[in-house]
């Protein structure tokens, strides 16, 4: 697979919280060829991003949906459950970005560790769903998480299911980073220290020079760009027009985000790795 140029944007407009505004913005984001739409951002919490992510699931077909989660006002058990449900509703298009703002040092990292442990309590092939034999699942593939960090102690596993992505994509914002060495995506500034992550998206303005971005992408310096939307309805069509050559040919690609964006499949110590597989023809 050729290496994809990743096009990402964030939205934190309070008006996005009502359907009349959100529906056309989601359509515009898909039409612009965006790979990821990050809902909310550091310093701005105009809505509960997890709820909007779930609402956006049936309104979109290929857009990756990323929820900002404030470490100061969330519990990993609830977050792990919500993201598991949303990842099923989107068939593997979910991500999250934990915002450390307002939380004690280390709390955001602890939340990531706890949520991963909760998801890893389930193997990818736990479900059987065999009506004839009456076996719903293979209990040997379910394990307590027994996670214990500095802030969160969680028995687990998550009482939902391992998400289709295994773990929803973890996005780290270089402006408000968390100390996680294996994030999937980092949003980086031109000069700022870059958090370690599998893929690096450069924060640019919508009028950035596309040719030079392509050069830097081809040199392996960046894996894509991230735009901070301030007036999404007006900006998204322009972004689509300017960046169309970068995302062309991928606009209608379906399938889970890890495969599409070339991101690693989460491994687990005790369970079959990867994302949950739901048996068909039950």
């Amino acid at each position: 697979m050729t290496r994809p140029f990743i096009l990402s944007a964030s939205i934190a407009e309070a008006t996005f919280a009502v359907p009349e505004t959100a529906a056309p913005i989601l359509q515009a984001a898909e039409a612009a060829g965006l790979d990821l739409l990050v809902m909310g951002r550091s310093g701005e919490r105009p809505f509960d991003a997890q709820v909007l992510l779930a609402w956006a699931a049936p309104m979109t077909t290929r857009l990756g949906l990323v929820a900002t989660v404030p470490a100061s006002n969330a519990h990993p058990f609830h977050v792990a459950r919500a993201l598991s449900a949303i990842d099923f509703l989107t068939a593997g298009r979910t991500g999250w970005s934990v915002i450390p703002e307002g939380a004690e040092d280390g709390m955001a990292e602890d939340m990531v560790g706890a949520a991963r442990a909760l998801w890893d309590g389930w193997g990818s092939d736990t479900l059987i769903l065999d009506k004839a034999s009456g076996r719903y699942l293979d209990a040997a593939k379910v394990h307590a998480s027994n996670y214990e960090g500095p802030f969160f102690k969680v028995a687990g596993p998550v009482n939902a299911m391992r998400p289709p992505l295994g773990h929803p994509l973890l996005v780290v914002d270089g402006d408000d980073p968390i100390a996680i060495s294996d994030a999937d995506l980092a949003l980086i500034d031109e000069d700022g220290a870059a958090p370690t992550a599998t893929k690096r998206l450069l924060k640019v303005s919508p009028d950035a020079d596309v040719a030079s971005l392509i050069t830097r992408f081809e040199a392996g310096e960046i894996d894509g760009v991230h735009l901070t939307l301030t007036n999404a309805a007006a900006q998204l069509p322009e972004i689509g027009a300017r960046f169309t050559s970068l995302v062309e040919g991928r606009a209608h690609e379906a399938g889970d985000l890890r495969r599409r964006l070339g991101l690693p499949i989460p491994q687990t110590a005790s369970n079959q790795p990867g994302g949950a597989v739901i048996p068909e023809n039950a």
């Binding site: 309070a14 699931a57 049936p58 969330a74 099923f88 509703l89 009506k131 009456g134 076996r135």
Partner: protein, 409 residues
Amino acid sequence: MMEKQIHLWAFLQGIGFFPSGWMHERARPEGVFSMDYYARVARLAEQGCFDAIVFGDQLQSRGAGGRTPERMAMPTLDPVSLLAAMAAVTDHVGLVATVSTSYNTAEMLAERFGAMERISGGRAGWNIVTTAHPATAPNFGEDDLPPKDERYRRAKEVVAKACELWAAMDREGPMLPQGRPVLVQAGQSPDGRDFAARTAEAIFCPAANIEAGIDFRNDLRSRVADVGRNPDGVRIMPGLSCVLGGSEEEARAAHTAILDLADDALAIEYLSESLGCDLTAFDPLGMIPVETILDQTILPRADIARAVTPAQEKGTPLGAFAANFMRHPRGHNVFLGTPEQMADMMIEWRDAGACDGFTLQPSYMPGGLEDFVEQVVPILQKRGRLRTEYPGTTLRETLGLSAREAVTA
């Protein structure tokens, strides 16, 4: 004068009311992991003019004694997320999510339900629970649940605080179409009933027969009046499951067939979870191991002793006891008969003051909901007991309550 209208709620958590329901040929156990399924059942509920879709919730792992059941369907996907997605594919049906006051802050709750309220255009409802299962505590860093009176004290505080936060959100905008979500409650104990009387606009309860329904509704309405609220501002919605057939015999046979899908192993898993003690290693043909149960259960011992001791004294084998226990899940009314008979029964309950409507718990999904919507809904509509279109857009309008109401916390 217009005949008394029947309100309908659809309780859609899981794959159906009966533990064996997921194995029914018209059940789709894989569906509960896909958006297509939720879109389909949400539209079905709206087609049937249901007031609302309700999801229950649990915050503990299923099973008992650390053993995960293999034969019970157990997806407990986050109800708020499922309902938010269903909001996007419907226009009128209300969306009621069960969320605990013991394991969320008022801030978390206000944000989540405020967002639901806005994005659904005023169709959000909150089923307020205090969480009673002891296995929940270790998922939140604690060894034990807070005591019951403490949980209810906290629930009152959290609801009052959440209402303040919604008022602030409403002022800041975008507005919350109902002012705040509809408040729903399901407590059965005296503490729970008092809390419901002060707080709830709709109440979900089990009522195995019409007398139980009348008693419960009368009790709640008098408690509501005692705290200075109008009893007509509260909808009482007992649970109702059903198996339909072309004749009573057919329905009974279909019911037996659903129960027969369960083997002893499933029945014992179900019993184990209900008793909070793993019994799966015991011989189904042997005696009920009451001493082990009372020794190991994490649930209140006196309640469990009342449930098992009489059967042990009669010499009922474990497997037979478990199978019988599973026939009557959670004390709800299970109707067996023709669609006409079911409509008659529902009208009889409504006219007798046993309820304001029903919380339908389909025996398997989505087939059980399809049957009800296709076969019973048209009869209720023809008899003038069920609306044929929604009166407005918000859940409060659908419930026939005042459009924006302040809480009496």
